[in-house]
């Protein structure tokens, strides 16, 4: 039956044609690879960097996510920026000619702009030619940053700092969306001349300038905002080192060099960095690369394959990549030999502190200091880092992460280290010898992932050794926040990333008036700590301030409103052809300072 239709000849033909079709599809050459080769031949320097998540908005005032900031920092400029190489992190002028100049009253500063800096050419401007940045643009930017109808997410960074700014914001709330900035002023912000703005602060405050280096405070032009309206979020018009040549939120974004960019390369290099060639380009105009290509690759496998193939110049290194490609020996991190031939690796401490919080209002853990101390003695942060994070972190002795002034690098302080005997002793003191009579303690986690559960298991086992039973509650991020903010918890995993690189940003986490709904989710209240915080808050960094930090650290250790855990170490890989690479945690994408050696062939 049906034999005639399926003759051997027809069958052979069918299988042959299928094979040929599949083979011809498969043998199509990678055109991207070829075009890459062409660009190298033309001596065009194209830096390839992958975005791991799509940005939300390129309107500086409407974003507060790192994916958006990575792009905004490259197409816009701010009044101040962080020095690329200096550690601890240090503010330096960006659009400003010099650092702000303090006036006689001690509260007012004059900010003078560099002359001749222009926005990129854009139809928003008269004749399509970019206009010069002036004091009017700075004032417009400050007003837009303070406008509640525009900026909801990041205003808290400057709240209370500038005279009259909070009142301006309150007024914009009353007026709604149709605010005419020409009819509404910020009392403390005045135009002095075409290039100078005077800003009066509410008090002498060394923290007040950090917001001026934040991507949300990038200088924007009223003409562009008015022209593009809602679409301003995907049509940036800035003065940055690059402009957007091709916009694609979820595809490949292309940045091209702004030929009129003003900055000259002159970072503060250490002697070691100078010897390592970081100043080879000193005195030259940045950026050094012609284009930056930014494909969006959300999965780590294809991202790493592209890096290994030489199609990506710089990539972050997750735990699994590290386990496969690197190792730690005598406290030093190395790339395995087969990878070290082609790639380089960097390590840089992050600007975050991870800890466990106690709810000081909880009837059990909040009211029993000895119990909290017992838990602190029972835990071993170093072992946890080694086993659960491949050693990629540093235990914290104070609340301030290592790269920030006022950290344990500046104040010598010893925090708890694991001591089982002391933990047992404290448990007796707490009224629960050997854990007898102690009900299980619940810890809240803000994720439900496998790795979170593994972390919990580790901690649970450590506490079990002294007789403490720990239960884990794993939930979504917003559920976690709701639970913590309602004060309905005993213990929670927690962390804080620096809004700005200053110790104050971390010590505020235990300041009494900041208790829930503020950032002090421990609801910790201690009169001495609060007084020390208030005194130290507006002091410049130095021995006097560090003495206060030291005493605050003693109180944190004694009262244990939280248990300090660790400071993450960021790891990354880059191709050997990349020059000037140093991870700056306040500048996630320093493309303008990076250079490429064109004759260094692809890695793979």
């Amino acid at each position: 039956m049906l034999k005639l239709f399926f003759t051997k000849r027809r069958l052979l033909l069918l299988s042959l044609s299928t094979t040929v079709m599949a083979w011809s599809l498969a043998c199509t050459k990678n055109k991207q690879e070829e075009s890459k080769g062409d660009s190298a031949a033309n001596k065009t320097k194209i830096f390839q960097y992958l975005r791991t998540s799509a940005h939300k908005s390129l309107d500086p005032m409407k974003q507060f996510d790192s994916a958006s900031a990575e792009l905004i920092d490259n197409v816009y400029s701010k009044l101040l920026q962080y020095d690329y190489l200096a550690r601890p992190y240090k503010l330096v002028p960006d659009l400003l000619e010099t650092m702000p100049v303090k006036q006689k009253d001690g509260l007012t500063y004059h900010l003078t702009l560099k002359k001749g800096v222009k926005f990129i050419d854009d139809p928003a401007f008269k004749d399509g030619k970019g206009k010069e940045v002036t004091a009017d643009d700075v004032i417009y930017t400050l007003k837009r940053f303070a406008d509640i109808n525009v900026n909801i997410k990041s205003y808290m960074l400057i709240q209370g700092f500038v005279a009259g700014m909070d009142e301006f914001r309150a007024e914009t709330k009353k007026l709604g969306k149709a605010v005419d900035y020409s009819k509404l002023e910020i009392a403390g912000v005045k135009k002095v001349d075409k290039y100078t703005v005077s800003i009066k602060f509410t008090r002498d405050n060394p923290l007040a300038f950090y917001p001026f280096a934040f991507s949300g405070m990038s200088i924007v032009a009223k003409e562009a905002v008015d022209k593009y309206k809602e679409d301003f979020a995907k049509h940036p018009v800035g003065t940055g080192p690059f402009y957007i040549k091709k916009y694609s939120r979820r595809g490949k974004m292309i940045l091209a060099k702004n030929p009129n960019y003003y900055e000259v390369y002159s970072p503060m290099a250490s002697k070691e960095e100078e010897a390592a060639g970081f100043l080879a380009n000193k005195g030259k105009k940045v950026p050094f690369v012609d284009e930056v290509h930014l494909p969006l690759i959300e999965e780590s496998q294809p991202a790493m394959l592209k890096f290994l193939k030489g199609e990506i110049d710089w990539i972050g290194m997750n735990k699994d990549d590290f386990a496969k490609m690197a190792y730690k020996k005598d406290g030093v991190f190395h790339l395995k030999e087969q990878y070290a031939k082609n790639f380089k690796m960097y390590t840089e401490p992050g600007l975050n502190a991870e800890f466990f919080r106690f709810n000081m209002k909880d009837k059990l853990v909040g009211k029993n200091k000895a119990l909290r101390q017992a838990i602190a003695y029972a835990l071993n942060a170093q072992e946890w880092i080694e086993l659960m994070r491949n050693g990629r972190g540093i235990p914290l002795n104070t609340m301030v992460p290592h790269p920030i002034a006022g950290s344990e690098n500046d104040i010598k302080f010893d925090y708890y280290t694991q001591n089982i005997e002391m933990a047992k002793k404290k448990l007796v003191e707490a009224g629960f010898p050997g854990g007898k009579g102690l009900p299980p303690i619940t810890i809240e986690y803000r994720a439900t992932s496998k790795s979170t559960r593994q972390d919990f298991e580790f901690i649970r086992n450590e506490l079990a050794k002294v007789g403490i039973t720990l239960k884990g509650n794993f939930q979504t991020f917003s559920s976690f926040l709701k639970r913590v903010e309602s004060g309905n918890f005993q213990m929670s995993s927690a962390g804080w990333g620096a809004d700005y690189p200053d110790g104050e940003n971390f010590y505020q986490l235990l300041y009494g008036p900041n208790k829930i709904p503020g950032p002090n989710s421990s609801n910790f209240e201690n009169a001495e700590y609060d007084k020390l915080y208030e005194t130290s808050r507006f002091m410049p960094n130095g021995p006097e301030r560090y003495k206060l930090f030291s005493r605050m650290s003693e109180i944190v250790k004694e009262e244990v409103p939280l248990i300090l855990r660790w400071n993450v170490l960021a790891f990354g890989l880059y191709q050997k052809r990349v020059k000037n690479m140093k991870r700056n945690m306040m500048m996630d994408t320093p493309f303008k300072y990076l250079d490429l050696e064109l004759n260094n062939k692809k890695a793979h």
């Binding site: 498969a26 199509t28 799509a54 909801i152 997410k153 709904p517 950032p519």
Partner: protein
């Protein structure tokens, strides 16, 4: 038939209201709070209240639901919480990209799978049938993710036959789509061929086939005029109903191959609590699903004259 179509379209209204209610209740009660996700841990109470107000989330739930129904009726779903993009623009753009990823392998797959299924059905019981059954059952047992990771690693990374991932508009984008297409075809082969083979086997045993041969009909005629046509109803149901999901793309494929289609957008929206995106996509897909269901029913009548649409 017109009456039937009008009746079916009328049925759409309560179905869509039901879907809307389900989506609304699900994401209002158990989904992530979009305001908290957007503002993160450093949010002030003032910022939380203001954003809730700007997004209309401080309105009573019934008002929010009525507004949702208005959006469905007017096809004006507003803008994404996260990106501020117009949702209909986002859908149009993403749907075309997702279709470019899914449509070609779907068409090739249907053609290849039906052809191979006929072939296997013809040689039923032979070594060819047994080996192919083994191969296709084995291929069905392997996870979709393994195909993606394996093909990407071997064909793109090791052999350098394809780009590892990426996307470009227009014909240049073909280069990036070839590997995902091949994976889709390979993945769909196992379940589809197994199912189509069963359908064809059922038909070849039918009385009308024996009668047709008894009347002296040729093998080609029996195959294409009788068996293929009769097997078309289950095949149509299976293949046409999949079409709305082609627009949704393939989340895994889009993610691993960096193809900016709807699938990945939808998953990102769910993770971020971007309710407007979820609402718009779910409702549009529901509408497509109902429409294609109707088309399937109409096609039945053409394929099989015994089916009456009354």
């Amino acid at each position: 038939m017109l009456t039937y179509i009008i009746r079916r379209i009328t049925y759409m209204v309560p179905i869509l209201i039901g879907v809307a209610a389900l989506v609304f209740v699900l994401f209002s009660s158990v989904g992530e709070d979009p305001v908290r996700v957007a503002l993160g841990t450093h949010a002030t109470p003032e910022a939380i209240a203001e954003l809730r107000h700007q997004w209309g989330l401080d309105q009573p739930l019934y008002m929010q639901f009525l507004d949702f129904l208005r959006q469905i009726a007017t096809f004006d779903y507003g803008r994404s919480y996260n990106t501020g993009e117009n949702l209909m623009d986002m859908f149009k753009q993403g749907a075309l990209i997702s279709l470019s990823l899914t449509l070609i392998p779907y068409l090739i797959g249907v053609f290849l799978n039906v052809s191979v299924a006929i072939l296997i059905a013809y040689y039923r019981g032979s070594w060819f049938d047994r080996y192919s059954t083994f191969i296709f059952v084995a291929s069905m047992s392997i996870s979709y993710m393994v195909y993606i990771i394996g093909f990407q690693y071997i064909l793109a990374f090791k052999f350098n036959w394809f780009p590892i991932n990426g996307y470009e508009e227009g014909l240049a984008g073909m280069n990036y789509l070839l590997l995902p297409w091949i994976i889709s075809i390979v993945v769909s082969a196992g379940p589809n061929i197994r199912m189509f083979r069963t359908v064809f086997l059922d038909e070849t045993k039918a009385d009308y086939v024996r009668t047709a041969f008894a009347k002296g009909a040729s093998e080609n005629s029996v195959l294409f005029k009788h068996i293929l046509k009769n097997a078309m109803i289950p095949i149509l149901t299976y293949t046409v109903i999949v079409i709305p999901f082609l627009i949704l793309g393939s989340f895994l494929m889009e993610r691993f191959f960096s193809i900016p289609g709807i699938g990945d957008t939808m998953i990102t929206a769910i993770n971020n609590g971007d309710f407007p995106v979820i609402k718009a996509m779910t409702m549009l897909i529901a509408i497509f699903y109902i429409v294609f269901n109707l088309i399937t029913d109409i096609l039945y009548a053409y394929v099989d004259p015994r089916v009456k649409l009354s």
